[in-house]
């Protein structure tokens, strides 16, 4: 097993059974190995199985065939049934935050720590406040309930909760969806900062082309049930595959990239 590898996916097939006894093919023979310290953007058309792939990496769903290895540990039945092992290793940010609505912000972030058996309240308070500051919130926000938070704040709190156990792998599902450009930019800066400080491996599903451009070191493209590209953005942009041409070279995407080239020189 290659120690450089944070995630290794081998010969992965996913089929969903439909109501009529047939099945729908989602993933066809996907092979992917993600190195430590990479920020990978997972892109593809809506409904092509990006989130499914992410859920399979977390162990929420099992692939029909093939295997996934996370930080040198194979995701199999026993591991999925005893998720403590993976929970320590990867922090997950769900698309809508998935905060526990009955708890306030503080308890939401402290939840994984308490679950782990850390009972020293002093340590919990300090760690939670530190993560709150890290994601740009203040102690005054700690007593709010999730229903009282804005979309951007929910994402921040969810990120703080994902980071509280100091994972070495972060899985993000559309981290900037639904954020205004300022919040979105702050989020990108925050992730870039964290990545620099803590050297996480990050896998994110995103539709945001500027996030890909500004943050991701690698881009993985899913299309026609397959992984058609896994490379740096520049290399992916140069590929002749029709889906990539359509996805990255449509007028809007071109504008984003050209504008940014202009901006960044």
């Amino acid at each position: 097993m290659n120690k450089l590898c944070a995630i290794q996916i081998e010969n992965l097939w996913t089929r969903f059974d439909d109501d009529f006894g047939g099945s729908k093919l989602i993933h066809k023979n996907i092979n992917l190995s993600i190195n430590n310290g990479e920020i990978v953007g997972l892109v593809g058309a809506s409904g092509c199985g990006k989130t499914t792939l992410l859920r399979e990496m977390i162990g929420l769903q099992s692939p029909s065939e093939g295997q996934i290895t996370i930080m040198g540990q194979r995701l199999d039945e026993s591991l999925v049934k005893n998720p403590k092992n993976t929970a320590l290793r990867c922090g997950v940010l769900f698309q809508k935050g998935a905060l526990f609505s009955a708890m306030d912000v503080f308890d939401n972030i402290a939840f994984p720590l308490r679950q782990l058996g850390i009972t020293d309240e002093n340590i919990i308070v300090r760690l939670v406040l530190m993560k709150l500051t890290l994601v740009g919130l203040t102690a005054a926000d700690a007593h709010l309930k999730p229903a009282a938070l804005s979309g951007g704040m929910i994402k921040r709190v969810a990120l703080a909760r994902a980071l509280i156990l100091e994972p070495s792998l972060l899985l993000l599902d559309e981290p900037t969806a639904g954020l205004d450009p300022i919040a979105s930019q702050e989020f990108v800066d925050l992730l870039a900062d964290l990545h620099q400080q803590l050297n996480y491996t990050v896998v994110m599903v995103t539709h945001d082309l500027d996030v890909l451009r500004d943050l991701c070191t690698k881009v993985a493209v899913l299309a026609e049930q397959q992984l058609i590209a896994y490379d740096s953005l520049a290399a992916v942009l140069a590929m002749p595959h029709p889906f990539i041409q359509q996805f990255f070279h449509n007028p809007r995407a071109t504008r984003v990239f050209q504008y940014q080239e202009h901006q960044h020189g």
Partner: protein, 378 residues
């Protein structure tokens, strides 16, 4: 920072004496994961004497240091940098972050009596608000009914028929089963008593009156409150969570017209029918039981019933059931609209809805019993 290919290494703490000074060397991976796996180390760190911060600390051999471990070390230092520290710049940055952290003072809870007063006031306001909201809902319902009576084209037939199917047709099985069993039990227990007095024939009076007038409507109402009332509350609650209620408002569709009225109308129709059905099932159970214990044949039972149980009882039963239906649907909707978008509130209000509906049904039943005390007795 860690070498990317560094293997997981157990954290270690070594205390050595070199040239008359104590050197505390830390090495390996100092992370939350490792410290959880080696709880002895955290204990050892905590139990270091207070003077330990005067020794020479060397953290430079630590491969990975995360903020959790940094906090533990920082606390072992009594929250001060040791005079003699060898560490990498990244590690110093982590420790500095803990040094700079400002913990806000915890809020002081108000004195007991003040707390009690504010709680009391809150309870009073909540009760008043509840009553007002319920009254507004009822008023809106009346307005809607008046509107629909002049605009019969706008009557939401589809929703009404949907609810009739869900709350009525699907409840036929359970109400029949419960009614049947209660009929058997009631008949059996009364038969034993009546036999002692040789008054077997009065089983028809007892069963007929108690089931048709009281038990049938009440049983059906309690079952529907538990079955459909809770479902209606949860449905409206989820619609709040998924912002469907807001979508309806934005489209200019009135909540009461679209959600409350069909439910209320459907239950007003369904409850009397269900109550007749439950009556029938309970009577059937009672007749079976009477036949086997008291030798009163079903023919005798049915022939004698119209004489002992005047028809007025059936009308009371039907009227009562319609009122129960109205109350159950109204309370279910009321508690549904009260749900806030969080899981706790959803559970609480659904429970409240069922409890309130059953309590109110029994209370109203008592009122009916008093009002119609002299009606329908043989």
């Amino acid at each position: 920072m860690a070498e990317p290919d560094a293997q997981d290494q157990t954290p270690q703490l070594l205390i050595q004496t070199e040239d008359h000074t104590t050197v505390i060397r830390l090495s390996g991976d100092w992370t939350l994961r490792q410290l959880q796996a080696n709880p002895a180390l955290g204990k050892q760190l905590k139990q270091l004497p207070k003077t330990a911060k005067n020794s020479h600390w060397d953290t430079s051999a630590i491969q990975v240091l995360d903020s959790f471990a940094a906090l533990l070390i920082w606390q072992a230092w009594q929250e001060q940098f040791p005079a003699n520290l060898t560490s990498t710049p990244e590690q110093t940055k982590l420790f500095t972050r803990w040094q700079q952290q400002v913990i806000p003072a915890p809020e002081i809870p108000p004195p007991f009596f003040q707390h009690l007063r504010s709680e009391g006031k809150r309870f009073y306001t909540a009760c008043r608000l509840e009553a007002t909201v319920l009254l507004v809902l009822l008023g809106q319902l009346l307005l809607d009914t008046a509107y629909l009576s002049t605009h019969p084209r706008s009557i939401p037939w589809a929703e009404i028929s949907d609810t009739i199917y869900d709350a009525g047709v699907k409840a036929l099985g359970i109400t029949a089963l419960v009614g049947f069993l209660i009929g058997i039990v009631l008949s059996y227990l009364s038969a034993l008593q009546l036999k002692m007095f040789g008054a077997e024939i009065y089983i028809i009076n007892i069963l007929g009156l108690s089931v048709i007038r009281e038990l049938g409507p009440l049983l059906a109402a309690i079952l529907v409150a538990g079955r459909s009332g809770s479902a209606m509350t949860a449905q409206i609650g989820i619609m709040r969570v998924t912002e469907e209620l807001d979508a309806l408002s934005a489209l200019g569709i009135s909540h009461s017209m679209r959600l409350v009225l069909p439910k209320v109308a459907a239950l007003i129709v369904v409850m009397p029918l269900l109550s007749v059905w439950t009556n029938a099932a309970a009577m059937f159970g009672g007749i079976l039981s009477a036949q086997s214990i008291l030798d009163i044949s079903y023919r005798q039972f049915l022939l004698k019933m119209p004489d002992t149980v005047p028809l007025a009882n059936l009308y009371i039963s039907l009227g009562k059931s319609a009122v129960f239906g109205l109350l159950i649907a109204l309370l279910a909707c009321h508690f549904g609209f009260k749900i806030k978008p969080n899981t706790e509130s959803l559970g609480n209000e659904t429970t409240n809805s069922v409890v309130a509906a059953i309590t109110v049904v029994i209370m109203v039943d008592a009122i009916f019993a008093i009002l119609f005390m002299n009606v329908g007795m043989p």
